[in-house]
Symmetry: C2
DNA sequence: CTGTTTCTGGAACAGTCGTTCCAGAAGGTG
DNA sequence: CACCTTCTGGAACGACTGTTCCAGAAACAG
């Protein structure tokens, strides 16, 4: 069976994601990736093809984990609207988003990244829309409200919170935004 | 008085902004900038110092023009809330934002860009807050509403619309978000 | 322990990057 | 017309980029 690989691909991808997230795609050199992952150049290239392939692999892993986080947060809540509120709070307090930054930097020129960015947006929208329709079935949200429009606006709020973080807005300001948006869109207001 | 310069700095900066906006900072080569601006390498370096200086100059020019657009849109409207609505519509239909993309790509590592991103956010927030307080004085907005929180949330919506565009969301979806957010935050809802 | 297969580390590659420099052209002044 | 200052175009620089290649080490099968 030959010699097995001596590294964990997921750990490598997490390390690579960290480099790409802080430096951006272009500014992240292969040397940075070698240092961060602990692998040698040859092993990196053998495992992921090239820099672009490693980037996409890191993006996919992050996208998968991020989608799970959203689904779990919404599912763990007692009521659908509580899940939405909890997820907004999570985003407000959490750090920047690899996918949103990736979209801003590369979606215009890299179709692969653009596809993943679009997919991530659709997943976010769908998760919010499902929760909103569940809330309507529960009677927690008025049935005449447009669930798709509200879901898109909540998604835009998530992206706005990421953008605020890039712009240096403090966490308290982001929490205020998350609460204000939630209250105005689906909350008691 | 010697020979006057044969180019318009503002035109050069607009061309440079176009290159930086579509490629990002790192992926934009000096050769791209030379081709787009029509200047020679020497003239570019003599006028702006280096690539980073040219980038900041383009950022400043864009920031100035963008700030004027916001102020003018709000000032031209019959009522403050109409101005806000018009600006949101403008952002929803307009293209990506150089400053938001710049913040996403470079604010984490470049203090100069970070400072300009923070400044732009503050200006956006202040413009919205001023309009909202004017609306409260007019009686168009209930005086007990928190103008600062609403202004921050409107600002986040603007950033969210930019992010949606990077993620490939179609203009119609962005218009829906702009209208939904406006209605829920300060509109008739 | 031998053979085989795979992974590993580092050297080497061509290409491009941002930047600098210098000779020459171009306009304004006396 | 001659002078002088400034801008211009292009060649040249070293450094670094992503990528490839090759010899050697390491782990499994028999």
């Amino acid at each position: 069976m030959s010699r097995p690989r001596a590294f964990d691909p997921d750990c490598v991808l997490d390390a690579a994601r960290g480099v790409f997230e802080t430096h951006g795609y272009e500014a992240a050199s292969v040397q940075d990736l070698v240092d961060a992952t602990g692998l040698s150049r040859s092993s990196l290239y053998a495992a992921f093809g090239d820099k672009h392939g490693l980037y996409l692999a890191a993006l996919d892993r992050y996208s998968c984990a991020g989608g799970d986080a959203l689904a779990q947060t919404v599912a763990a809540a007692a009521a659908p609207l509580d899940g939405i509120r909890a997820y907004l709070a999570l985003v407000a307090e959490g750090g920047g988003c690899f996918l949103v930054n990736a979209a801003a930097e590369r979606a215009a020129t890299d179709p692969d990244t653009a596809g993943r960015a679009a997919e991530a947006w659709n997943r976010l929208h769908a998760a919010f829309a499902d929760a909103l329709r569940a809330a309507q079935a529960d009677g927690a949200l008025a049935p005449e409200r447009d669930a798709d429009a509200l879901a898109a606006t909540l998604g835009a709020t998530v992206y706005g919170l990421r953008g605020m973080q890039s712009a240096g807005a403090p966490p308290e300001a982001r929490v205020v935004v998350a609460e204000t948006a939630f209250a105005a869109l689906v909350g008691g207001a």
